[in-house]
């Protein structure tokens, strides 16, 4: 074992590496990570069924579901509850609010998926997954992840923004600045030679200096 692997936190996934493979029982049958190949996937965990913050989040995820579908993105929930608990909860949500939960939810009773994705934060809870969000691209590569504590419900606008930013970056070979939203200018990657830096300044971009140039896409 190398020094690098020794210092690596156990079970935590890394950006730009293949997302950990899984085969899991869900409310839509047994699903594997490979079943989502060719589309973007947002895998998210919640602490427990029949809890207040999680219920507001499920309603919010259901609300943005059509927008995610427009972006070629599937949604997959997870918690350490049984599939029967999940079924009862999503039926209860529909009965009480009229909102149908359209995405599958993993029943990760043996914590296998939660452990491989580093969803368990023992400092918070040893039995519940934290509020984690993993953005996995159509090739199965983990592209972004956000971790929230148990007490903090997630911001759906940020989740949509991350998907938009990743897809824009892939499509145009650009980066996105702070607080970027669709329609804003994007950042042209910084030139890595003196010649390119000089050419950059003449390229017609909006440049603060040679290393910070923006353009429309």
């Amino acid at each position: 074992m190398t020094m690098e692997t020794e210092s690596r936190p156990a079970g935590l996934p890394r950006l730009n590496e293949p997302a950990p493979a899984f085969e899991a029982v869900t409310t839509h049958g047994t699903l594997t990570l490979a079943d989502f190949e060719g589309r973007w996937l947002i895998l998210f965990s919640h602490p427990a069924d029949f809890t207040p913050v999680c219920t507001t989040e499920f309603l919010a995820f259901a609300e943005i579901f059509p927008q995610l579908q427009e972006r070629g993105t599937d949604l997959l929930g997870l918690s350490i509850d049984s599939v029967y608990s999940h079924i009862a909860w999503v039926r209860n949500i529909e009965e009480k609010t009229g909102v149908r939960i359209p995405f599958p939810v993993i029943a990760d009773l043996n914590k296998e998926v939660a452990t491989s994705y580093g969803m368990l934060m023992p400092g918070e809870s040893k039995t519940e997954t934290s509020r984690c969000v993993f953005f996995i691209d159509p090739n199965g590569v983990l592209r972004a992840m956000i971790y929230y504590p148990l007490s903090l419900g997630r911001n759906m606008a940020e989740i949509l923004r991350v998907i938009d930013a990743l897809q824009t970056a892939d499509k145009h070979g650009v980066a996105t600045p702070a607080n970027w939203k669709p329609g804003d200018r994007v950042i042209v990657p910084a030139p890595n030679t003196q010649e390119l830096a000089e050419e950059r300044m003449k390229a017609g971009y909006e440049c603060t200096d040679w290393y910070l140039c923006k353009k429309d896409v």
Binding site: T30, D35, D74
Partner: protein, 71 residues
């Protein structure tokens, strides 16, 4: 199983997939014809293969005689 009920009957989504398999050979085509998410079709196709209702040949899916009978 999500496709086959305990009494041996098949679910509505499995029936839609079997029907689509009458004219489609890939998971993508089946998903489009059946109006189901691709991930769900891929999962169901695994089950239908296991249940002997479909086979995978030359990279394409097709119904078995039993699958055709149940479609």
């Amino acid at each position: 199983m999500a496709c086959v009920n305990p009494d041996g009957t098949i679910t509505a989504s499995a029936k839609a997939i079997l029907t689509a398999l009458g004219s489609a050979t890939t998971a993508e085509q089946v998903a489009s014809l059946a109006g189901l998410p691709l991930f769900r079709v891929r999962s169901a196709l695994r089950e239908l293969l296991g249940a002997g209702l479909a086979v995978l040949e030359d990279g394409g899916y097709r119904l078995t005689d039993e699958g055709r009978r149940r479609a």
